[in-house]
Symmetry: C2
Subunit: 249 residues, 2 copies
DNA sequence: CGCCAATTTGACGAGCCTCAACTCGCGTGG
DNA sequence: CCACGCGAGTTGAGGCTCGTCAAATTGGCG
């Protein structure tokens, strides 16, 4: 019954959508946008709810409007790895695929802008603007996945935690077209276990490293889910890769 | 001078190309194919040669015709992670990007079918067949990267080695539209160090695990670079994920 | 106030890394 | 022809990081 739980919510017009210029619809205008607007519907999920199970039929694709979801993969013995993090403006689902390849779980309250898959696929064929934006987004996701490979393969537990915080800070800043600087606050819509699944660690190790970073003044904690970073550059240093995060794309 | 080293080779017509129906040109016919044929040129690299350095300008995109290449990323202190494996029919380069994001190295002798980037980008806009094939291939790569995340994050050294062998066997079999079964032979166009970089291990650990798998009869070695697998299902069991590898896509 | 889930902390061990020595195959040149 | 060097690979000893198991603590909420 995962689907029943996703009740529709009041829809907003695309013009005032917070992800209007970052999602798959970014380059659409006029008729194209109207067409998307006509076929869209919202779904809302609570933190912890499963959006789809790997192997289940999936009849829609969607953009994340607000909140956060994780794509998760498992070995038979239960070992779990998160293989994707869906943040606002990210795209969910694969056109041309009937069955979900990964389990998708809302890690915080989540709002999706959905399109039925078949009509959306048709749109992709007729409408090069959408298709090329989707290609661009997929290529970006592939780059992000490759950065994650470096993290999983070569970084220490401490560097992994710092890297995750850096990513969340950058994504949050990008939504408001800024670049993280100085003292910042990061909302952590993830349990320690979800962080562990993302980072290829155990939740105990995550907890220990968070404590260490706090003890050393790299971060401060306000409750369990809000992180204050006194110096963003310090955090980036701790993450191991010294790049500046590239242009504000 | 990496580019000078890539001398042109005798070109073959697309009709008899071994990757004709798997590469980015797979769905092209008639005029489209002729256009690609008119603009293509070959480049050849020897094992160990660098195709491009991360950060270098890159004026072409390409399909791998034969051989193997690795995409590689590094932290400043030198830790290295391979983040992509390019096998025959795989696509190299990102349309719309001037500068290579990763260092590309030939891990065996390599033959590329290249297209200058600008004309190819124009083709992508005019020609939905090519664009949609590229989207499909990018999505496949993303899936492969996500499988790799699971491997790096959660598998033991032994499982990692077995997984790599399974992947190479599957890719080699797919090229001739078959499925690996029973006793098979795998060509390993990778040094122990390249394997380690791919698997997030050290070369010593790779060597030890290879020895262990050999001692236990899971594999046999013919020289350093040829692996004989008496029972493919046994190898898949050792890899940790018990799936059958899905349909012959 | 008390329960429960999430998180933290501690003790200990396993797996993989580091450093180092040794082997193997192969091409080179005396 | 064979010593030699060299790069790739193998093997060994010991240590560190992170995982496992277990217990204590915290915080939210009825």
């Amino acid at each position: 019954m995962p689907h029943d739980a996703a009740l529709c919510a009041t829809q907003q017009p695309c013009e005032i959508c917070p992800i209007r210029y970052r999602a798959v619809c970014a380059h659409c205008e006029g008729d194209e946008l109207a067409e998307l607007e006509g076929m869209k519907f919202y779904r809302r999920y609570e933190a912890g709810q499963v959006v789809v199970w790997a192997g289940d039929r999936m009849d829609f694709v969607a953009s994340v409007i607000a909140g956060m979801a994780g794509l998760t993969q498992q070995l038979e013995d239960g070992r779990t790895q998160m293989v994707g993090l869906l943040l606002p403006s990210d795209f969910l689902g694969r056109p041309g695929r009937e069955v979900a390849a990964y389990t998708v779980t809302a890690t915080s309250d989540l709002l999706l802008c959905c399109f039925r898959r078949k009509p959306f696929e048709k749109l992709l064929i007729d409408n090069p603007r959408i298709a090329s934006r989707l290609l661009e987004m997929t290529l970006d996701e592939l780059d992000a996945a490759r950065d994650w490979l470096l993290l999983l393969g070569r970084k220490s537990a401490r560097e992994k935690i710092a890297s995750l915080l850096v990513i969340l800070a950058r994504r949050a800043a990008a939504l408001v077209k800024r670049r993280p600087e100085g003292r910042i606050v990061i909302e952590l819509p993830l349990t320690r276990e979800a962080m562990a699944d993302y980072l290829g660690l155990t939740l105990e190790t995550v907890s220990r490293q968070m404590s260490t970073l706090k003890r050393e003044g790299v971060i401060e904690l306000d409750g369990k889910r809000r992180v204050i970073v006194p110096s963003f550059v310090r955090l980036v240093t701790e993450s191991g890769d010294d790049s500046d995060g590239g242009p504000l794309s």
